[in-house]
Symmetry: C2
Subunit: 284 residues, 2 copies
Amino acid sequence: MTIETLSTTRSHGGTQSVCRHASDTTATDMSFAIFVPDHAEGAKLPVLWYLSGLTCTHANVMEKGEYRAACARHGVIFVAPDTSPRGEGVPDDPDSAWDFGLGAGFYVDATVEPWAKNYRMRSYIEDELPSLLLRHFPMADMTRQGISGHSMGGHGALTVALRTPDRFRSVSAFAPIVAPTQCPWGEKALGGYLGPDRALWTAYDACALIDGGARLPDLLVDQGDADTFLAEQLKTPLLEESCRKAGQKATIRMQPGYDHSYYFISTFMAEHVAWHAERLKRGR
Amino acid sequence: MTIETLSTTRSHGGTQSVCRHASDTTATDMSFAIFVPDHAEGAKLPVLWYLSGLTCTHANVMEKGEYRAACARHGVIFVAPDTSPRGEGVPDDPDSAWDFGLGAGFYVDATVEPWAKNYRMRSYIEDELPSLLLRHFPMADMTRQGISGHSMGGHGALTVALRTPDRFRSVSAFAPIVAPTQCPWGEKALGGYLGPDRALWTAYDACALIDGGARLPDLLVDQGDADTFLAEQLKTPLLEESCRKAGQKATIRMQPGYDHSYYFISTFMAEHVAWHAERLKRGR
């Protein structure tokens, strides 16, 4: 488990790095971005994960997410993984569509060939990358983790957190796909990676998981009402309904005029970081 | 003088737009980005210009500059022009170098062929684009303008402001080229666009202008000390020396560990916007 630092840049009173490592899980090299605020020698900082959306790499939020000022202020490490395996021999959507294959791992462990060998983003996010951080970033306090994400990555954040309730103290999302079993992006991805048996899909559907009894510590969601994917793909009202029925504590905010882009995400990023920081700093 | 709005996106409590217009000055279409904070009907907001560096378009600072939160907070319009003419028939560096030609207009009015027809960024920034704003953005208070920029655009901000002392109430720069007559980038650009007579270059050299008696209302400069262009191209100490000799009020800050990138610019952007806002909001 070695790790290569591809770049290190000073920004906002901290260090923004891009790292690469050979992943056993995906059988490829994987890259991720990590921002570490300046801190006292030996100090431990909480970790906020951010899972990105379709077509993204680690770089999109790193360049456009506007999280560094808030993370430096609150002393929070920000980790942004890639969204799929990449590299020679990694299969892609046969039509090179942007909603499946490269850049579209959907945070699942694929069981169908030819995807099963490399497309294992669930295990990568749940097991391998946290282990790597624990080993290589001694200032990362893995007892205090939060998770967020955008769109497909909002789906990832919600479902990873719902399946591992003890890992995260705080969960938020920007414009998440809340019920992939009920929208075209999700049906294509889950059908493609997992096969036609819909019973296998529910582990990857936030609403289904909540309906089935899984719970989050708390939840903050921002969703733009001018987001062109809202009605067909994101379906925020389904999450509101599942949370209401389950008594799941949640703050789900419709933001008037905002779309699906990083212009939206960056607007509310500082609030999300502050929201996570508050929960990551208090005792359980 | 018509203007076409290419995109309009809600962000940080305001509107980020990209506009295009046919420029008489450059004899090309020109694009620029403009962020307008939400404001009361009929209100007038001060205008902060931001001139970008080599290789950039309007888009770099729009995506990575992290100015919107501060501009919305302070009620400041942010305008980011392109760095050169572009389009069919516009000549480029014969070797396609990135420090001359497309993306490298250097904010001069070229006098040498084949550049003289299109490469007229000085007049574009000094005359045409302000006139366009006055006509098409009635909320822009052109009696309250500030200007900033990065690298080649820092040079642009300083020299435009030094030549038009009544136009700007506030001037700042990120890692500016302070003396283009004394560095390789500047010598190539000024020699190429203006010819070998160095006497014609001084109108485009901030240090030479200050040495010659031109003055700024006040000046804020941030410069990273890990900027690899500092010693050979940017030469901040020359600006410190010219300001000291001239009694020019200036705050020139060396920022330890910071490089030349938008990770540096975005770190100090909010402070620059606040600094401009303070000066743009008080009376003369």
